[in-house]
């Protein structure tokens, strides 16, 4: 893609000493991604990052479901900032796009309507006795990986290249609406041609695929997924994206936002079961990765250590293209190799059953 404008949207991303805020959705569906993010930062890159046991959800999903009032979420966010200052940090990094959107929006609201910040300070003090400082630097965790992408490239054990053909892998990036659509200047590359994931993919040898519905929402839509009666909205919008990208034959999808990662994975299962349609090559689904998983694979982490067995769409076809050595029989094992049964097979699980595994069963 001839992307010319991303350099106009450079943002400051702190180099070290981060206060880490976890994501409700990411820790639920991709706990391996959160773990490997911390490992990459501290072990591979030698950076200091603090995983605080005191912070909570930002309540963003409640806010965007319109049950948590603005004043309440402002105060919860203020508490997170207070915890950061108390721990001696100034650089806040959030594992969640919804949260990142909330933080950028509230910081802007406080600036534009100073009375709301005043009120928040009073509320926080009244409720918890805490006081907060505005973070010096606010980033999403993908910004942090983007910031270190060249260092990761130098330490990489493999590139995003098909080992059989030598061709760069074709990657669809999905940014997540709240990363830059709320404040385009707060996201690397802006809202129209975001570069945060594209930059990683390009640095690590892959190739970005542009397609008609690239900027379209994954279909989460908060209440539109969370309430069963509304889920048609959610699957219809994911369906629209998948239909639009499929002709471009991407090797995998990489997502910025934990929700999008989950939806683009799970709705492929639903669509396959409902209609028999699959979007990948050879009747398989398109593997959907978090950027932490993508970074982890590039750095040589084991896919099951990355938690890729928690995906519904099989990732093995991608692992094979990348030339990743993995133990198929270890995929669905519990702690310390304990046999815990395996998920029921679905259409998007196209990988052959492992014989060893069958014997154990």
């Amino acid at each position: 893609m001839k992307r010319s404008s991303w350099t106009d949207y450079q943002k400051d991303i702190a180099d070290d000493n981060y206060y880490y805020a976890r994501s409700c959705i990411r820790q639920n569906f991709f706990p391996g991604s959160e773990k490997v993010f911390l490992d990459i930062l501290s072990k591979d890159l030698g950076r200091n990052i603090f995983d605080d046991p005191l912070h909570t959800s930002c309540t963003g999903i409640g806010y965007h479901s319109d049950v948590v009032p603005l004043e309440t979420i402002m105060t919860v966010v203020a508490r997170q900032f207070a915890l950061m200052s108390e721990a001696g940090y100034e650089n806040f990094t959030s594992s969640c796009i919804t949260s990142f959107g909330i933080y950028t929006e509230l910081l802007n609201t406080w600036e534009e309507f100073p009375e709301t910040e005043e009120r928040t300070r009073e509320n926080l003090y009244k409720a918890t006795g805490r006081e907060f400082k505005i973070p010096k630097n606010l980033s999403h965790t993908s910004d942090v990986i983007f910031h270190h992408r060249e260092e990761i490239a130098r330490k990489a054990v493999r590139k995003l290249v098909n080992v059989h053909t030598g061709e760069p892998l074709r990657v669809v990036e999905h940014i997540g609406c709240h990363y830059a659509k709320i404040f385009p200047k707060k996201g690397v590359g802006g809202s129209e041609f975001p570069y945060v994931l594209a930059g990683m993919v390009e640095s690590w040898g892959g190739e970005i695929v542009d397609y008609p519905e690239r900027r379209h929402c994954c279909g989460f839509g908060f209440r539109n997924y969370l309430v069963q009666a509304n889920r048609g909205y959610s699957v219809a919008n994911s369906h629209k994206k998948l239909e639009s990208m499929a002709p471009f034959k991407p090797d995998f999808i990489v997502c910025n936002c934990p929700g999008c990662t989950m939806f683009l994975d799970k709705w492929q299962y639903t669509i396959a079961e409902m209609e028999g349609t699959t979007y990948g090559q050879n009747g398989q689904g398109i593997p959907v990765l978090s950027y932490e998983e993508m970074a982890g694979l590039v750095l040589g982490y084991d896919p099951w250590v990355l938690g890729m067995q928690m995906h519904q769409v099989d990732v093995e076809p991608l692992l094979d293209k990348l030339g990743v050595e993995y133990d198929p029989s270890a995929k669905y094992l519990g702690r310390n190799g304990k046999y815990i049964g395996r998920p029921e097979r679905a259409i998007v699980n196209s990988c052959s059953e492992d014989t060893l595994y069958k014997i154990r069963r």
Binding site: C24, Q27, N28, G32, E34, K35, D51, P53, T56, S57, G60, I61, G62, S65, D66, V67, V68, P69, L70, T72, T75, V76, R79, E112, N123, K126, A127, C177, H178, A180, K181, E192, R215, C217, F220, G221, N224, L226, V227, Q228, A229, G232, Y233, V235, A236, N237, Y269, T270, V305, M310, H311, G334, K338, I340, G341, P343, E344, R345, A346, N349
Partner: protein
């Protein structure tokens, strides 16, 4: 009289989200809700800017304000610097404060959201936790998710040492002190009051609809009911 418009103006999101709309339609053009429902965010903004009480009251009781997914795709495009989704957020908040939300099928779902997400925040400190994404209510989550829930400690245990326990890490239990602070924040900032209002208005409506109050049966009704008249 612009009683409702004045009430909306108290919400900073309306002040930020609505200056003047010239009906160009760039918001509706990319709106995922407009692609799915019979929905047009431009028209909502246009109705709100009439400042007319009857028009806004009808909106507050309507289905249409509940279609938006708050993805904010409308925000970066508007040539007048409006954010239709912010206008929606302000309308939804006012609709709940005034108890008008129970007058529509999609509005009544706020009870389900309050109980599923809101109560979970007050119980756990998180919007969602593995065990409240129950496979029987979430068939779309697939077979792997069912396997995960059936073996949660075995699976999460590989990635976090504090699954359901206190300490640093994924899916840890928030300490009692932390939860006390969260509860205090909800009390001080009107979050609890807002939750209670959703319950009370829902209870009133549930009785009106022949339920024995806003019980589990009513919850399942609002959670699953789709009249299919939204498209």
């Amino acid at each position: 009289m612009a009683k409702y418009f004045d009430m909306l103006l108290e919400d900073v999101r309306l002040r930020e989200g609505l200056t003047a709309c010239m009906n160009c339609g760039v918001c509706t053009a990319v709106c995922p809700a407009a692609a799915f429902y019979n929905y047009d965010p431009r028209q909502i903004v246009c109705m709100v800017q009439t400042r007319d009480d009857a028009t806004i009251e009808a909106l507050l009781k309507s289905e249409t304000i509940w279609y938006c997914g708050e993805c904010m795709s409308c925000r970066p495009r508007c040539p007048r610097g409006n954010t239709p989704a912010y206008v929606i957020q302000a309308l939804r908040t006012l609709s709940q404060k005034l108890g008008f939300f129970v007058e529509s099928e999609k509005g009544r779902q706020q009870l389900a959201l309050k109980r599923a997400i809101g109560d979970n925040i007050l119980r756990t400190g998180y919007c969602l936790t593995p065990r409240n994404i129950r496979p029987e209510l979430h068939p779309e989550q697939g077979t792997v998710w069912k396997w995960i829930i059936d073996n949660d400690e075995q699976i999460y245990g590989q990635f976090t040492s504090v699954y359901g326990k206190e300490g640093a890490g994924a899916l840890r239990k928030c300490s009692d002190e932390t939860m006390e602070e969260i509860h205090k924040i909800f009390e001080v900032t009107g979050g609890k009051e807002f939750f209670d209002a959703i319950e009370q208005h829902s209870d009133r409506k549930a009785r009106e609809m022949g339920f024995d109050g806003a019980n589990e049966e009513y919850f399942m009704e609002v959670y699953t009911r789709n009249s299919n008249e939204h498209y």
